[in-house]
Amino acid sequence: MSVLIFIDTAEGHIKKSTLEVLSYGSKIAEQTGSAAEAVVLGSVKDDLTALGKYGVKKIHHAASDAFSHFDAQVYTKAIADVAIATGAKVIVFSNNINGKAIAPRLSARLKAGLVAGAVALPDISSSFTVKKNVFSGKAFANVTVNTDVKIISLSPNAYQVVTGEGTAEVVAANITAAPGKVTVTSTTKASGEIVLTEAEIVVSAGRGMKGPENWGMIEDLAKTLHAATACSRPVADAHWRPHNEHVGQTGFAIAPNLYIAIGISGAIQHLAGVNRSKVIVVINKDPEAPFFKAADYGIVGDAFEVVPKLNEAIKKLKGTT
């Protein structure tokens, strides 16, 4: 019996969300008195043994080139094979892009109940119940899994990474890759930038910025905070900013530790994408902007004056002036 955690990589590097699921899955192993094991597919450039400090004891590595690009069907079969071989009772994914593609497939393949988008550890006192967000963050549900094998996909930024001591044993996973049907013809990636869905701090701006030429101060503030930049829907629709920055109902749903909304009124569709942020700061010159009702901190004022001052104040705090 074990808890099996999926290690997700991009270009051979371990994703930040993986550290969260390793910590989370190891805690479940501790709760249930079982061993924390992990599976990783494809070649990896980072040191896998070092992942032991997040609590995982054993890592099953299938390095075959067949896993060099992502194909949900191929990955699912491989993970299912490892899960069966290790007798995994709980299988943990990040509820990120790849997790959302694999976890449901695996659920159907193993007939194992899935809680997608968990935000807390399971309650195992009487049944196996996991809390998740529903209604786009406006409510939560405690979902009971009725099957012997359980699958959980953990919302990014919902569980704090826990770092301890230890090294993980890495073993070759004895699995054969199924032939894949999907080929990747090209990949475009904004390199060096902070990934919006994984960012701990997000600086976001809306129509209140009046035009794309005024985004310099937003980018400066983001840089000072090591934050990702985001925008509201009207801004993306007007092509002031790229669509991959759009957060809200139809864009990305994010849950950073800190979300700073500048010149965004806070329509319910926007809130649906950001209301899981731990701390929300709103800067808007309209005191009636609905966003203030959802905010923890606010400044009623002109972004063009407030943002540069805020940037200076943060630089002062960080001692980088």
Binding site: A10, F70, D71, A72, Q73, I97, K100, A101, A103, P104, S107, A108, K111, G113, L114, A116, G117, V134, S136, K138, A139, A141, N142, V143, V145, N146, K181, V182, V184, T185, S186, T187, T188, K189, A190, V195, E198, I201, L225, H246, T250, G251, I268, A272, V282, K293, A294, A295, D296, Y297, G298, I299, V300, G301, D302, E305, V306, K309, A313, I314
Partner: protein
């Protein structure tokens, strides 16, 4: 080309969320129902565009729900589906729902199945992946673009911080999101035509329920916004650093 589009009924985005029966059921009182936005704006509209490009394309819609789902499926037909199937069942378990749709899909022998990236009620993002596994088809999720060349699909999918272009032979399951197509509204001709389009009701097949909602809840209300003077950015920084510990 035969395409199956999965349609889900969800509360309107602005609906007030409340629960009844000791917090075990969603309270539908006063709620306006809509087609799940991703199913409508991206899945359905993109398939309509495919049919506009190739008139031999057949679009079938499927929904799993009670009779109260019919206004939603009629609206989807008014936008442009050819016919619809409603599986007369209700469940909060994705595997049960996916099993019902898989049965419809098997009988229809579809080349392509579209789902929205998630529903805005349960936010599970699970049906597409489960369907693909049940049907042993490849699955491309979070697609932002979809093109067909004969039986080969070229699909752009989102990855963290970028995009990836995939090529795959049909049949295929795709989950769609923003970028796929622009939202449309049904016109009068479509609404009239939808009244007479076939809407078949079938009973569910036996399928397992793997999960159950034990209880719903609402997040604790925010304590209220703490306003800081516009001249005093230092104070905001102090609060974020010392009180919220966010920077």
């Amino acid at each position: 080309m035969k395409i199956l589009v999965c349609i889900s009924k969800t509360p309107d985005t602005t609906a007030k969320i409340a629960f009844t029966d000791n917090n075990t059921k969603f309270d539908p009182n006063g709620v306006q129902w809509i087609i799940n936005p991703y199913d409508e704006w991206y899945s359905l509209v993109r398939t309509i565009e495919l049919k506009e490009a190739d008139a031999s394309t057949v679009i079938h819609l499927v929904t799993v729900g009670g009779a109260d789902t019919e206004p939603i499926i009629r609206k989807a037909l008014a936008l442009g589906g050819d016919e619809a199937v409603r599986v007369n069942a209700d469940s909060s378990d994705s595997f049960y729902i996916a099993s019902q749709i898989a049965e419809v899909a098997k009988q229809g022998a579809y080349d392509l199945i579209f789902t929205g990236k998630e529903t805005i009620d349960y936010n599970g993002s699970s049906i597409g992946g489960m369907l693909a596994e049940l049907l042993d088809m490849p699955y491309i999720s979070y697609a932002t673009k979809f093109e067909l060349t004969g039986s080969k699909a070229t699909v752009t999918r989102e990855i963290e911080g970028g995009e990836e272009v995939n090529e795959v032979e049909l049949p295929l399951v795709v989950s769609t999101q923003k970028g796929m197509a622009e939202a449309r509204i049904p016109n009068m001709r479509g609404i009239m035509a939808a009244r007479t389009k076939p809407l078949k009701v079938v009973e569910p097949v036996a399928a397992d329920t793997l999960t159950a909602v034990a209880a719903f809840g609402l997040p604790p209300a925010k304590a209220g916004v703490k306003l800081v003077d516009a001249e005093n950015a230092e104070e905001l920084v102090r609060l974020l650093h010392e009180e919220a510990k966010a920077i």
